[in-house]
Amino acid sequence: MTHLLILVLVSLAKTIGLIFLVILPMVSYTVYAERRVSAMIQDRVGPNRVGIFGLAQPIADALKLLLKEDFTPAHVNKFYYWLAPACAMAPSMMALAVIPFGSQLWGEPMVVANVSVGVLWVFAVSSLGVYGIVLAGWSSNSKYPFLGGIRSTSQMISYELSLALSVVPIFMICGTLNLSEIVKYQIDHGWLISPIWIKGISLFPPSINFQEIIQSIDILKIILWIPLFISFIVFTISMFAETNRLPFDLPEAETELVGGYHTEYSSMKFALFFLGEYAAMIVGSAVIITLFFGAWHVPFLPTTLHNPYTIWGIILGLIHITAFFVKVALLLFFFIWVRWTLPRFRYDQLMRLGWYFFIEIALVNVFLVAIILPFMRK
């Protein structure tokens, strides 16, 4: 009984800590980063007045959105209109549950739910996010949101397949769906994104084992890197489409659809859509990090200490958590960078890319890995 209670309390602490202390502030500061980076890319300055470097801007924005009148237009379908923002927001938060965002603190693994379906849960839940958009588009009872909703649906169909297919090679290589296990595999065999992996170097204690270095250079791993890199590219691009980011932000395409699916929304309901979009971005980055960049793993640092309860063990745990979110932040920067570089794809181009190219590439990739893998087994 106490065992169960402790489990519940620890999970609750991890969930609340993750969502309220890390993800939500990260979302608001991603918005800030988006504005600053886009400004700098366009030779502007961006918000720099509220607080030092404008760092209080997200807080001011949140306050403004909270205090605004919560207006519901008369012509909407009220129930679904109110449901939609929650539907857009919740899935990305739920997907976070299975992502290992740190090694361990006080002997407790830093993942809310260490379940063996892992990545399947992420795909299943994050694809629910489209319901928020479709519901918003439909219930708004207005043409632009409706077009946004329709676009979102077809975009979804085009990209879910390649998104899931592109990471099948990873599960073939790692032999598991559990994200923590995949991270463990990457710690043992090297990040999946890197073609070579040198195991012999460690900073604690400082040692270089030349024999191990030479042994660790494996020609098959270099060959295997090719399909993995392809799957990384396909997965990342599909993730852009999944999170409705430019160049695939067709559901909200400001220039064509006014505001897209959230045209009729304002105040906190609009903010929930916004939050959901950026949270989806963070979750997407977190999944990419977990699958390809070794999640919380820092090269040359030990992954565990003999006694994780000492101060050093806790510091190491904190370093791992920080490393994870630094990696996520770098990938978020990439997301923003791409957004302010590329023009929007036309509607048919997007579907064409999804159906004609990515699914085929991902499928061929699976076979490629299947052919290479038998030679890898020792």
Binding site: D43, V45, W337, L342
Partner: protein, 176 residues
């Protein structure tokens, strides 16, 4: 007659998007780094930094009245500026200069001289039309106020803004 625009023949690299995307990413990151490192500066932080020093001599700011080196107010209340003013921003109430005054022969002076800065369009016609070199558009551009009344510049305010201007033609001097 309708005619067909020839579609450009794309190379494989162009069709594959990726090289062009990478080039674009290179361009944007260059702009980002240049602005971030401060190597390139485009924006002026307005209230802290101003471009007052770089304003050209012919800049048309707020219209003002000036006095000359003899301390004489140059306006003779001829009302030409009032008549030419396109938005009718200027209101002048002329008065007579008393008998004993040194500048008796000028005859008239403005008792009240008001320019409504909400109406003013900074066209400079008042300056152009003035036969007495009395009204000038100087370089004040940040004219603000909290009420409409505050935005109407009266005579005192206009002379305050204009100040003393030397080197003008003094046609009312005693000798002449």
């Amino acid at each position: 007659m309708a005619y067909t625009v020839a579609r450009p023949k794309l190379t494989f690299a162009e069709k594959a998007y990726l090289p062009a995307i990478l080039t674009g990413l290179g361009i944007t990151i260059r702009h980002f780094v240049n602005i971030l490192s401060g190597r390139k500066k485009v924006t002026m932080q307005y209230p802290e930094e101003k471009w007052d020093k770089q304003l050209p001599a012919h800049y048309r700011g707020a219209p003002t009245l000036v006095t000359d080196e003899h301390g004489r107010e140059r306006c003779v209340a001829c009302q030409l500026c009032e008549f030419i003013c396109p938005p009718r921003a200027i209101t002048i109430h002329p008065g007579e200069i008393p008998e004993k005054d040194r500048w008796r022969k000028v005859e008239k002076f403005p008792q009240e001289f008001e320019i409504d800065m909400i109406r003013c369009i900074y066209c400079g016609l008042c300056e152009e039309v003035c036969p007495e070199q009395a009204i000038f558009l100087l370089k004040d551009y940040a004219i603000t106020g909290l009420t409409r009344r505050e935005m109407v510049h009266d005579k005192q305010k206009l002379y305050e803004l204009g100040g003393v201007m030397t080197g003008l033609v003094n046609k009312w001097n005693d000798k002449k």
